[in-house]
């Protein structure tokens, strides 16, 4: 008994004090699914020998964690999460400004004015419909925001919950900009849309499976969700509303007080190099790279020809995000 206890005590001591204390590592919090982020991190390790330790968390979990860890940060870089999470992180004081050498080339609407974060990619909102269900119901894939209000779509639309998902915010912003920056019209439209919504999913991609399997006809999500479903062989159709959609920016930022600051900075520099930006295409990330001149997936490029991308004012979003979400909670989903 006593020797067993001693054994466990020593095991515990080892566990407590032996962290990942190897030489060159960067600790990364990312909201990107492993399938998207890991190939890119691996490429960096292969190139530099620097180990990337990462945890995948939803944006909200990521910010909540980093905030709780503020006084003793565990992560060095926040990498690949929607812009609103970075706005919150900036406000919470958990990230610090850092501009990569190539950041100058990246358009202003894709980075924070004070340099707190920069977009690694642009992630377009799309309508993804189940081809078989459309056919069964004699419907056409929606090509306007107003198409979604058709009573034929009652209980046939799934999309993300604004309390958990960056995708939902992109949807709200899309509607806001598509309807001429009129907040009342935005809320009014969403109330009408709500009548057709079957369920609001926790994550942005949460409706991908239901739409792929035919549990719901339309899923309002992001490009990678739809492309992955296509790649997996599900019969889905991707369309865009003619009024336009917004694209969420996927940010990258240096964590304030990062323990491996030097290595983290190098990793961020690499993130905005052409070499890495080309990897998005090579690894089927299906987002648009932010560095001009980087290669774009051919399928995405073809699809984007039909898309009208609406410019988003990050500054305005940072200030108004909370109100937009609260109006969604208090006015739209209240029935």
């Amino acid at each position: 008994m006593v020797s067993t206890l001693r054994l466990f005590a020593s095991v515990l001591l080892v566990l407590v004090f032996a962290g990942p204390g190897l030489a060159q590592t960067v600790n990364v919090y990312t909201a990107w699914p492993e399938s998207l982020s890991q190939p890119i991190f691996k490429a960096y390790t292969a190139k530099t020998g620097v180990q990337i330790n990462f945890i995948r968390l939803s944006t909200g979990e990521l910010v909540a964690r980093a905030t709780a860890e503020k006084n003793n940060p565990r992560a060095d870089v926040m990498w690949g999460a929607p812009g609103d999470g970075f706005a919150a992180a900036k406000e919470a004081g958990i990230i610090e400004p850092y501009k990569a050498a190539t950041a100058e080339k990246i358009p202003a609407e894709l980075k924070d004015r004070d340099g707190y974060y920069t977009a690694v990619s642009k992630n377009t909102l799309i309508f993804m419909s189940n081809a078989k269900l459309l056919k069964e119901k004699g419907l056409k894939a929606p090509t306007s925001w107003n198409d979604l209000l058709d009573p034929a779509f009652k209980g046939q639309i799934q999309t993300a919950d604004a309390r958990t998902s960056g995708t939902a915010l992109t949807r709200i912003l899309s509607i806001y900009y598509a309807f001429g920056k009129d907040e009342e019209k935005t809320v009014d439209y969403q109330k009408k849309l709500h009548k057709n919504v079957q369920v609001y999913t926790k994550s942005g991609g949460g409706c991908t499976v239901p739409a792929s399997l035919g549990q719901t006809t339309v899923c309002i999500a992001h490009m990678p969700d739809a492309m992955e479903a296509k790649k997996k062989g599900y019969g889905v159709v991707v369309t865009f509303p003619k009024e336009g959609v917004a694209a969420v920016i996927e940010g990258v930022a240096l964590v304030k007080g990062a323990k491996n600051r030097e290595a983290a900075v190098k990793f961020i520099e690499w993130t905005f190099s052409k070499e890495m930006q080309d990897l998005l295409d090579k690894n089927n990330v299906y987002m648009l790279p932010t560095l001009p001149g980087a290669s774009i997936d051919a399928d995405v490029q073809a699809l984007m020809k039909e898309a009208k991308l609406l410019p988003v004012d990050l500054e305005w979003v940072g200030k108004n995000r909370k109100r937009l979400v609260e109006r969604w909670i208090n006015e739209v989903i209240r029935d």
């Binding site: 939803s58 979990e61 964690r65 709780a68 062989g233």
Partner: protein
């Protein structure tokens, strides 16, 4: 021995150590969180004000209570039906075992699996709803789906509790009633049910408490139309970046959770825990006639249908793990398992290490605490017991965030280590073992220990040589529960996994939110297999210890 305990040279240091641990790992993180919630550059009730003004929060409280009550009633009723059939239905042994195995499935599988399986089975294009019955308008999101999924998940708790209770009702009592000329229904109503009532109440409270704290099921199935508190708290923290509001919501949940716990204590206390007889077989093997063949048939049909439904749900998960993409590409594929055994192996290994580490530490802690509570007298004994169970009654989200806030800074910088996960599980789930210990001790005469003492043994020697062997079944049960919980818990640990230690359940959640459904299913199947193995081993060990069976450990799962 009362009173002397406080001056006992062994008991006193033990009490101090246990108190210190409870203070550090239960009360300290909780107080940090309370501070965060109610102190914003001075005392602040902002968080509470937010609670009262937001309709979703008010509705969430009402919904949580409603759901807990409904699931409690339905789960207990279903559990009672299964227990009656198992104990009094004269089912063949193999069938009883098979029934147990099926019923255990939802209880030991990782969270989300039942909810996901339900979407597959009863969703708008579900295998049962659409492909069997041709229904296209079934809406399982909201109260109905959450209710159904939680009832399926938690009725086994009621079943295992009630099975033990009914098995321990002396059939001679029923026989006497029969011999006095009473009819079956009357015997059932006036003898069987009243004798089972404390068990029924206990089962109801256990199931309700489980529903009240459940976070995974509503996250998938409740939708926006049916907000409940644990999910709402999680959303507040992770979606609105509002930790203060989320914590306040959790504290709101604490009130009904503690009420249920208090209610349960009251029941058990009033009955002195004596309705579960651990030792001693009941009367002679009389033929129990309390169920008519017709009633048995009815119960058989009901339970058979439920068991079949559970099986279908899990068969769907199994199918999803073995196909390229359930619903689209039904070709056999081992790709998902290949992923689990390559990229996912670290999570599996980490989870197993943590689960195995939890067992001796948590088991010992549970037994020591149970012994202190049941057999010694010292000032603050009740307070210690109450404090120790706080983490159990609290929703996981709040425990996880509390730990994150409290144990991130030196000198208590435990976040990122396996240690924090082990501690979290030990202090959250060892209550089952503690309860088992007190139950066992309640049936052992203290004179056995007194004999040891009077022969000159010190208290620690008595504990090691007399008490520990006696409570071995409780220790084993507690350790089994800890293992199962460590393999399947999600809500607290989602905030505690780290760069070095990841967990399978977190991978499952990831898989579910990222369209990697096949992968999530493969991970789930693996967890189910591992846990089944553990439960079987534990019940074999129990049989060897001659201490009841699996049911004992199972019934502790809900509590």
């Amino acid at each position: 021995m009362n009173g002397q305990a406080a001056r006992d040279p062994v008991i006193l240091p033990t009490v101090i150590v246990v108190w210190a641990m409870v203070l550090l790992f239960v009360l300290y993180p909780l107080s940090r969180l309370l501070f965060l919630t109610f102190w914003n550059e001075g005392p602040s009730l902002d968080a509470v004000r937010g609670l009262l003004s937001d309709w979703t929060h008010r509705r969430a409280l009402v919904n949580s209570l409603l759901l807990a009550a409904l699931v409690g009633v339905a789960g207990t009723a279903l559990g009672f039906a299964f227990a009656l059939l198992a104990v009094r239905g004269r089912v063949p042994t193999w069938l009883g075992r098979a029934l147990d195995a099926v019923v255990l499935l939802p209880l030991i599988s990782p969270p989300f699996t039942a909810a996901i399986a339900l979407i597959f089975a009863l969703g708008p294009r579900g295998i049962i709803s659409y492909h069997v019955f041709g229904l296209t308008t079934v809406n399982i999101y909201g109260l109905s789906g959450t209710f159904l999924s939680e009832t399926l998940t938690y009725f086994p708790v009621a079943y295992l509790t009630l099975k033990a209770v009914i098995a321990n009702i002396d059939p001679n009592l029923e026989d006497s009633a029969f011999s006095l000329g009473a009819r079956r229904w009357r015997v059932f109503r006036t003898v069987t049910v009243p004798l089972a009532t404390p068990g029924i109440a206990n089962a109801f409270l256990l199931v309700s408490a489980a529903s009240l704290a459940d976070f995974a099921t509503p996250l998938i199935l409740a939708g926006t139309r049916f907000p409940v508190l644990p999910t709402q708290a999680f959303l507040q923290i992770t979606g609105l970046y509002d930790m203060r509001g989320g914590a306040a919501l959790c504290f709101l949940l604490l009130v009904p959770a503690l009420a249920i716990f208090a209610g349960q204590r009251l029941w058990v206390e009033r009955r002195g825990g004596s309705y579960v007889t651990v030792t001693g077989k009941v009367g002679a093997a009389t033929r129990v006639k309390s169920l008519s063949p017709l009633a048995i048939t009815g119960l058989g049909v009901l339970c058979g249908a439920v068991a079949l439904f559970v099986l279908v749900c899990y068969a769907l998960i199994a199918a999803a793990s073995l196909m390229k993409g359930l619903g689209a590409d039904h070709h056999l594929s081992f790709a998902h398992y290949a992923h689990v055994f390559s990229g996912g192996l670290k999570a599996v290994r980490d989870t197993l290490i943590i689960a195995v580490l939890c067992m001796p530490i948590g088991g010992l802690f549970a037994v020591v605490l149970g012994f202190l509570v049941a057999r010694t007298q010292f000032p603050g004994r009740r307070a210690l017991e109450f404090a120790a169970m706080m983490n159990y009654a609290l929703p996981g989200t709040i425990v996880g965030i509390g730990y994150l806030v409290a144990f991130n800074d030196p000198p208590l910088a435990f976040t990122g280590t396996a240690f924090i996960l082990v501690v979290c599980y030990v202090f959250r789930y060892s209550l089952a073992g503690t309860r088992a210990t007190t139950a066992v001790l309640a049936q052992i005469d203290p004179s056995i220990e007194e004999a040891s003492s009077s022969l000159g043994a010190r208290r620690d020697v008595t504990f090691r040589r007399v008490v520990l062997p006696l409570v071995r079944p409780a220790l084993l049960a507690g350790m089994t529960v800890l293992f199962i919980r460590a393999m399947t818990a999600i809500s607290a640990t989602i905030f505690l996994v780290s760069l070095s230690w990841s967990l399978v359940t977190v991978r499952i959640l990831e898989g579910i939110t990222n369209l990697e459904l096949g992968q999530a299913s493969a991970f789930s199947m693996l967890v189910i297999a591992l846990v089944y193995l553990a439960v079987v081993l534990a019940s074999l060990a129990m049989r060897r210890l001659n201490a009841g069976s699996l049911g004992q450990a199972g019934s502790l799962l809900g509590g």
